[in-house]
Homo-oligomer: 99 residues x 10
């Protein structure tokens, strides 16, 4: 099952640049692992914003929530999740490449 998420990151004023950089390194690794395992099907930057649009293929909502909660930056993210179904005009069951 596919879900699309919009994630907006807001760091607290007091966070140092080192801490931010450290978070970004961990976030990159976490995100790469999700892509490799076929859970995160895509992730894109919203132009001009510290936000992403990302898509998730999962079998289970508890797993999906755990996936979001596992993001190193989760405490600084606003996440909005939208469930997606097959569209009648889609010519394929799966638009994504195997990563």
């Amino acid at each position: 099952m596919l879900f699309v998420a919009r994630m907006d990151v807001v760091f607290p004023e007091s966070m140092t640049d080192e801490t931010k950089a450290d978070f970004q390194v961990k976030e990159k690794a976490y995100s790469a692992d999700l892509q490799e395992r076929g859970i995160m099907k895509g992730i894109w930057r919203i132009v001009g914003e510290y936000s992403n649009i990302s898509m998730y293929e999962v079998d289970d909502l508890d797993f999906l929530h755990a996936t979001f909660q596992g993001f190193p930056m989760f405490a600084y993210m606003n996440v909005k999740v939208t469930p997606l179904a097959k569209h009648p005009n889609a010519t394929t069951d799966d638009f994504f490449r195997q990563l």
Copy 2:
């Protein structure tokens, strides 16, 4: 360049079921053609709504607007377009399959 759109369809009260069905047939063909040509990279139904999330790969904004305007149901759609860039955590330049 990649853009994500959310489209919400609102048919006028007076439209007959025949007209709606006719629109849906035309829409399906138009949409299939966009997928085949590699313009529409994906389309999904938002669960519970007469709405879709769809993604477009285009070189040009005039072409992108013309693509939206070409939808048979365009007059009955609210379309919101968001430009997307590569995310630093993406492990690939292209998440989509060749259709």
Copy 3:
């Protein structure tokens, strides 16, 4: 997997009371069937509004969308769907009675 939906019904001005009553009869039967089959786990009226809060247990998002689309009044409903996961403070995996 559990989803909560808020459904708001807006009938067009031109719909007769007979048609409305007819829709309500069909809706009741459809809804009862969903409850019997364990798909709709609960449905409640929002006090003062022509709206409901309802909960759905499904294995699949395509099935969930089909379930919403099957409501006889679907064309006159605004539906917003929110995916739910187990809460760490829940003392049970399933709060609902077998109907």
Copy 4:
């Protein structure tokens, strides 16, 4: 009488992880007690958010407010309460299990 609440938790930037963990332990106990006493009929995590949807069966609004105010994290919660009535399409007066 049944009420549905949406609770969003926002911890202040200065709160330590220990304090948060301590709050979560107290919250879990408080929540379990409400479930045992048949006041909280259900609680679910909104996928991707530090938020819950929960349902309350109470006889009295002063008691309901006291129940919310009693949550250890109440000062850090935004709570929105919606009163619910029996839906004409409900096949039962009570959708919830005895916990």
Copy 5:
């Protein structure tokens, strides 16, 4: 238990002045009866709007919904209901006069 409601009336374009006047006569009688029975504790016009703020004392949410649904103009009203509890700074349990 006390609830405050905001009701906004929107008549359809096609409704004649006679029908509107007829609705208003019925509404006035229904409203007077609710006041006499101690259910509607107060009703006020929002200055400049075809809207009211009104307060209801009821023992039961099903009864409260039935009360709203009984308004002759219910089909043309948007109703938002907010549950109220005793305020710690209130010097009385009941601010309203016996009508």
Copy 6:
């Protein structure tokens, strides 16, 4: 003339519990005085929120603003004021008891 207000209290993160308690004592006295003088006709807690709905009978808008500004917690309140007129369906000119 009658006005309804919705007041939402937001204390700053750094305020100690002592200061809050001190504010609440002063607020209670101020509020009691307004009720005794027939200015505040009623005050109710919004269930689940640190907010109230309150009603004011005043002859003058400067006096009304001074009344709000006099609340000990005024600096931490968001106040929204709505002017009310007699409703054609009201069976009395004054719904409130003499306190």
Copy 7:
């Protein structure tokens, strides 16, 4: 006492240009009378919109509501009223000219 209103006019689709013109003639006379009597202290067009900002000096909220309800186009207006008090930085009690 001074109030500022924002009025947005929305005519129904079926209204003829003659009816609109007729309304505008009546509206102009009604508005001129309010200005002459010192009730409407000012009225301005919001640039680009079929809307006005207007200010009213009245002694009484029932009278103010009756004033709004008396506008020939009242049924087609959305009116939002905001009560105003003397500002501490104002150098005069009355900014308006005698008309």
Copy 8:
């Protein structure tokens, strides 16, 4: 040319009462000067809020922005500016007194 502004003041949590009082003295002088020079045509407090509605007569948008930016409290204000034109129902070109 006339513009109406709504200004909402939000002081940071850390600002002392002395600093606030000092700002208010400077603000009063700045505001009085604008009134004397015929730039600020009126200013009113929104009842219950730390906000004003004010009107400005200027020949030039750069000058208008400089006027706003010159407010001593500008850094703590949210300002929304709306351009106004003569209303067809106005009986005068200028509603304001010479201060």
Copy 9:
């Protein structure tokens, strides 16, 4: 002085394609004239929407409102106007070409 407008066009359901086409011809001529006279400095389509962003250089707000009101489709447009001043980082007083 420069103003930016966002215009959204909503045609009524009953308008025929001929009437729409006729409006578009008149609109194009009106718009071309405004460009030629140096009043409309630019106009762009918002991708995916029946909306434009346009910019206007005028000396006077009454003239600006008359310019908007003169659009053949004015009755079917929602127009939001924002006044613009010189930005301190602008390297020129005028970004637009002479048309």
Copy 10:
């Protein structure tokens, strides 16, 4: 391809005036360079706000995002980007001057 952005700047409470001034100097240089290179086609101050409307001509969305991210104040900006296409009523392909 042309994009319009609205940027709102919000500095944290703790930032000193020196740091702000320093940011503004860097921002001015960055902005001037973008104008010189024909990337930023225009920038205007929204009257009364610490915000700008600016327009960008770019070939690529990754480049556009990098352009926004390169602003010295990027971490303190909310940026909303809207893609623009040629309007059928435009009399030119390019409204902007060569800087």
